[in-house]
């Protein structure tokens, strides 16, 4: 069975740091990572009918399911070492309340946290 694949914006400083955070806390070998801009990332986006550029969300592919925004972030918790999965209780907060917070950070990620390609 394939591992969950985490797709992130490779030019976003916050996203790169978030992946480092996940990699440091994941159960050994639990997840794979690729940028949204990579050939692998582009294939997943195309298959899921998602935009191939101007990304506004981390994308998690787990089996045949694809998770976006706060649902993606919460889904990843189950693959981290204890006690991080406990934060899964946040799933009790409805997505219509969670996603606006995610979107606010996502839309301002370059201006608030910088980008890695110097643009």
């Amino acid at each position: 069975m394939s591992k969950p694949l985490v797709l992130y914006d490779g030019y976003c400083a916050l996203c790169n740091r978030s992946v480092s955070f996940l990699q440091a806390r994941q159960r050994p070998g639990a997840m794979e990572y690729a940028s949204l801009q990579s050939p692998r990332g582009q294939r997943v986006l195309a298959a899921a009918g998602l935009p191939l550029q101007d990304y506004d969300s981390v994308v998690v592919q787990d089996g045949e399911r694809v998770y976006l925004r706060s649902a993606a972030a919460l889904h990843l918790l189950r693959y981290l070492r204890s006690p991080w999965p406990l934060l899964g209780v946040l799933r009790l907060v409805p997505a219509f309340l969670r996603d606006p917070i995610y979107n606010l950070i996502a839309h301002n990620r370059y201006s608030w946290f910088g980008n890695t390609d110097g643009k």
Binding site: G10, Y11, A13, N16, R17, V19, S20, Q23, A24, Q26, P28, G29, E32, Y33, A34, S35, Q37, S38, P39, R40, G114, T116, D117, G118
Partner: protein
């Protein structure tokens, strides 16, 4: 090995002893790891006049891992496909598992060649040690820089 570029022509070839000083100078001016620069391991990119415009090597480490390293291109030839040509040429010669360490902004570039970033527990002993050391150095320098360790599985 040759390749046309937008503003001229360059060739990729194995380095010779006469390129040793140029390789050292280019690597140092590029601000990348200046150690382990034996010219015998390098491929070089040369312009039509034979001047060194880029270089790359595969560096072996004591734990058996091998590193795609020392990729550098002179500023006036950057964004002309030299780095891509160098990486393609050296990967054609090295089919086994390769690691590399790079700044986060270059991760997308290396993914095009089949590299993906890996967590510490998947790193070889050498890269585990070096990434830890790099983390300490960046913290001391208070640098807002992030380094990735990437791996390309062998064919």
């Amino acid at each position: 090995m040759s390749r046309d570029a937008v503003q001229g022509e360059f060739i990729i070839q194995p380095a010779t002893a006469q390129h040793a000083a140029g390789i050292q100078s280019l690597v140092r001016s590029s601000g990348i790891n200046p150690t382990g620069l034996a010219w015998q391991r390098f491929l070089v990119a040369l312009d039509a006049a034979g001047a060194l415009i880029g270089c790359v090597q595969v560096k072996p480490h004591g734990d058996g891992s091998r590193e795609l390293a020392s990729l550098a291109v002179v500023p006036q030839w950057q964004s002309h496909g030299v780095a891509r040509a160098l990486v393609e040429a050296i990967l054609a010669q090295n089919s086994g598992t390769l690691y590399l360490m790079c700044q986060a902004r270059l991760g997308v570039f290396y993914e095009k060649f089949g590299f993906s970033r890996i967590p510490v527990d998947e790193m070889s002993t050498y890269f585990r040690r070096v990434s830890k050391l790099a983390g300490v150095v960046l913290a001391v320098r208070k640098a807002d820089e992030q380094l990735l360790v990437m791996r390309r599985a062998g064919a």
